[in-house]
């Protein structure tokens, strides 16, 4: 199985995706609701999480039925399917942190990494640890279960989709872009690669897997980058951030370490060239799910 790093090596340096290209793509292959190539094999691996990420994916409602019809063979998922053992996959969506004291869990994520070309950490438990960062063991019947780490502490993770819960839209975008990256034309691969790049950067970031409100503070406000747009306050899933005189104030007693504030912040990451094409990219996504 080809790892994502190999897929990327073959690609040329990114060029801005031209508008013309995106329009052309929307007209070709997918318009009739048919896939441009064969389906990818994907699955959902559940570790110490709450299945909220999977529910979020299912909250694409009719969209998820279309994705499964056309683009994705759903080959592994204890909650929605019957397969009991992790098979070879193109894309593994892994949810939850890993408990170091739980042998089965550690073996499972290693196996998932071995068997998958692209590993996507979905949700904050997998990306940043989330509430599991607070765990300290001591509870029956496994009081020794005390150390929970995000995925990237144990295995290479290719793409992060943080937030607690992640949104149906972001999960859908990540899955569709992963599909294009693996099965699309060269141009489609470029678009998908560029779209996924910031989410891959998050996965490789030296600080993001330790995120909390402090990350927003340290990497945006302290760095002189904050311009008070309020994206972080809107993003925060626990209402821990309010805007006080135009700047974010984080109630650290409420923060659950999900990293959504930093990830949603336009000064967290921002790609001008890609965002300029928001219209055609959103049309493309609508088109492929028609």
């Amino acid at each position: 199985m080809q790892r994502i790093s190999n897929i990327f090596k073959k690609q040329e340096p990114e060029k801005p995706v031209t508008k013309k290209f995106v329009e052309k793509k929307a007209e070709s292959g997918m318009k009739e609701g048919k896939p441009v190539a064969e389906k990818i094999r994907a699955g959902h691996v559940h570790e110490s999480g709450c299945t909220g990420c999977l529910v979020a994916l299912a909250d694409n409602y009719e969209g998820i039925l279309k994705i499964l019809d056309r683009y994705v063979d759903w080959v592994y998922d204890l909650t929605l399917a019957d397969t009991r053992h992790i098979p070879k996959m193109d894309v593994a969506l892994i949810e939850g942190s890993v408990c170091l004291q739980d042998k089965i869990a550690v073996e499972e994520v290693k196996k998932a990494r071995e068997n998958s070309a692209i590993v996507v950490a979905i949700g904050s438990c997998a990306c940043t640890g989330n509430i599991n960062r607070f765990d300290r063991g001591g509870q029956a019947n496994q009081p020794q279960h005390e150390s929970f780490v995000p995925l990237s502490d144990l295995i290479d993770v290719d793409v992060f989709v943080p937030c607690c819960p992640p949104t149906p839209e972001q999960l859908r975008n990540a899955v569709l872009m992963a599909y294009l990256l693996l099965k699309g034309t060269d141009d489609q691969k470029k678009l998908a690669g560029r779209y996924l790049q910031p989410l891959m950067n998050l996965a490789k970031s030296p600080f993001f897997s330790k995120a909390s409100f402090n990350t927003l503070m340290q990497e945006v406000i302290n760095q002189g980058l904050c311009m008070g747009c309020g994206s972080c306050a809107a993003a925060c899933p626990v209402r821990a951030i309010t805007m006080e005189y135009g700047k974010p104030q984080g109630e650290r007693d409420l923060c659950i370490n999900c990293g959504a504030c930093f990830a949603q912040c336009p000064r967290g990451f921002f790609d001008h060239g890609l965002t300029e094409q928001y219209e055609s990219i959103m049309e493309l996504i609508q088109e492929v799910l028609k």
């Binding site: 909250d59 039925l65 397969t83």
Partner: protein, 456 residues
């Protein structure tokens, strides 16, 4: 001669669990242990010492399917401990949130149930993701019902998964009149869909009940008429919502509840000596592997009046509506019957909501640490009880008794008498949510048999 078979992991439910089953020569289960293999995150222990405002947000993340139940049970247990009364409209919003979550959860469970069932009149099992009719229309209807449920959750609760509008003392915000109307319209749309879905599901379930056999791994396994029967009682605290120790007449009694030590209750080490590689999908655990439920799993066994009880849709229907059908199918039918009650309750509470009413208590006490309070919430899969003691705004004691925990011993009891190939069908009848039951697991509640075996 008794043999041991293990199904690990079990599928089509939330979380990680496995079944260790002792079966006789005919493959009929004599005794079943069902245990979680989800890591224990210890969220109750996490709560100790934390700010009371944060704890509902943390324990909500125990489960992404019924986060509303945990948020509300936690919030109300803490409110009961600090003796804080929430404004009427905050309560109304919470009930709406509760109903909306149940609508989505029951619909989701339909997807998990259907693959065990047959299209009436055929020998074809239902794949809910198949694009073929009539299944596709059902799948779309399920998704629309879920969409309505989740959207109403989002309006009343701020987020559909892990709601962020509830807070200690009420809610952060009331909704606008426009949002209220939107919820009303959505509920009106849900009613005929829910009715159709209920009728469809009941027809499918009754059809299964009439069948002689079910196909499992290429074999025809006989379906016993008493599939999933048990003789335990039922426990429910409200048809829709819940109660708290702060209420005038609490419908649950903490005095009648006890939690017993698990060690004595479970199978000790057993060796798997029956395996079936054709069991879908991927076979059962190979012969020779050892299983040790009492070590691998557990914690306490919750008892009410000294017995394990069943919680969930049938328990609610049984206690409040006189429903009396036993077995897995009875339980599943009860779940479908809740669709309508749920929609009507949602509608009447939306009507009742005053959008200009206040939703946050004027004064929120910080707690003096004297009151170990509790609150129950009738989650989609049963009674969720949270206990809390608060002092100076910090949590001093915290404990959760989640629905699946109550159901573990009861379900284990219900496994006996069925062919082992149908054990998962029985288990799925309980709509298990295993991550919730982080600390609770397995069980065999027949002390006598176990004691005898230990002596042997």
């Amino acid at each position: 001669m008794t043999k041991v078979v293990e199904i690990s992991p079990t599928t089509r439910h939330e979380g990680h669990s496995k079944l260790v089953l002792k079966v006789n020569e005919e493959g009929i289960i004599e005794r079943g242990d069902w245990l979680s293999i989800t890591s224990v995150r210890g969220l109750e222990k996490v709560a100790y010492g934390k700010n009371m405002e944060q704890v509902p947000k943390i324990v909500s993340r125990v489960c992404g399917i019924c986060p509303v139940a945990h948020t509300l049970a936690a919030t109300e247990a803490i409110e009961a401990s600090i003796c804080c009364e929430v404004p009427r409209d905050a309560h109304v919003l919470r009930v709406i949130l509760q109903c909306a979550n149940r609508l989505h959860s029951h619909a989701l469970h339909n997807i998990l149930t259907l693959p065990d069932m047959y299209l009436p009149g055929t020998d074809k099992k239902i794949n809910p993701f198949s694009p073929e009719e009539p299944v596709r229309s059902v799948a779309k209807r399920i998704q629309r019902l879920r969409e309505i449920g989740q959207t109403i959750c989002e309006i009343a609760g701020g987020q559909s998964i892990h709601p962020n509008n509830p807070r200690i003392g009420g809610m952060y915000m009331n909704v606008s009149p426009r949002a209220k109307n939107k919820m009303y319209d959505l509920t009106k749309e849900a009613i005929p869909l829910a009715k159709a879905q209920m009728d469809f599901m009941i027809a499918v379930l009754r059809n299964y009940q009439k069948r002689e056999w079910a196909e499992v791994g290429g074999k025809q396994v006989p379906i016993p008429k008493n599939l999933g029967y048990h003789n335990q009682g039922y426990m429910a605290t409200d048809p829709v919502y819940g109660t708290t120790s702060f209420a005038e007449n609490p419908s649950w009694d903490a005095e009648r509840f006890m939690e017993v030590r698990p060690w004595d209750w479970y199978m000790s080490e057993v060796e798997i000596d029956l395996a079936d590689a054709s069991y879908p999908v991927g076979g059962t655990t190979p012969v020779g592997v050892k299983a040790n439920p009492r070590i691998e799993a557990c914690n306490g066994v919750p008892l009410y009046d000294g017995q394990p009880v069943e919680v969930g849709p049938r328990a609610r229907l049984s206690r409040f509506k006189g429903f009396d059908e036993k077995g897995t199918i009875g339980q599943q039918v009860a779940r479908q019957m809740e669709y309508m009650d749920d929609c009507y309750a949602m509608l009447s509470h939306i009507d009742e909501l005053n959008t200009s009413g206040k939703v946050l208590a004027d004064e929120i006490p910080r707690g003096d640490g004297t009151c170990l309070a509790w609150a129950t919430n009738e989650a989609p899969r049963g009674t969720d009880v949270h206990f809390a003691r608060v002092r100076d705004g910090k949590i001093h004691d915290y404990s959760m008794l989640v629905p699946t925990t109550w159901n573990f011993p009861t379900c284990s009891q219900a496994l006996a008498g069925a062919p082992w190939q149908l054990a998962e069908v029985i288990m799925r009848g309980y709509d298990p949510c295993v991550s919730c039951a982080t600390h609770m697991i397995v069980i065999d509640d027949d002390k006598k048999i176990l004691a005898q075996k230990l002596i042997q």
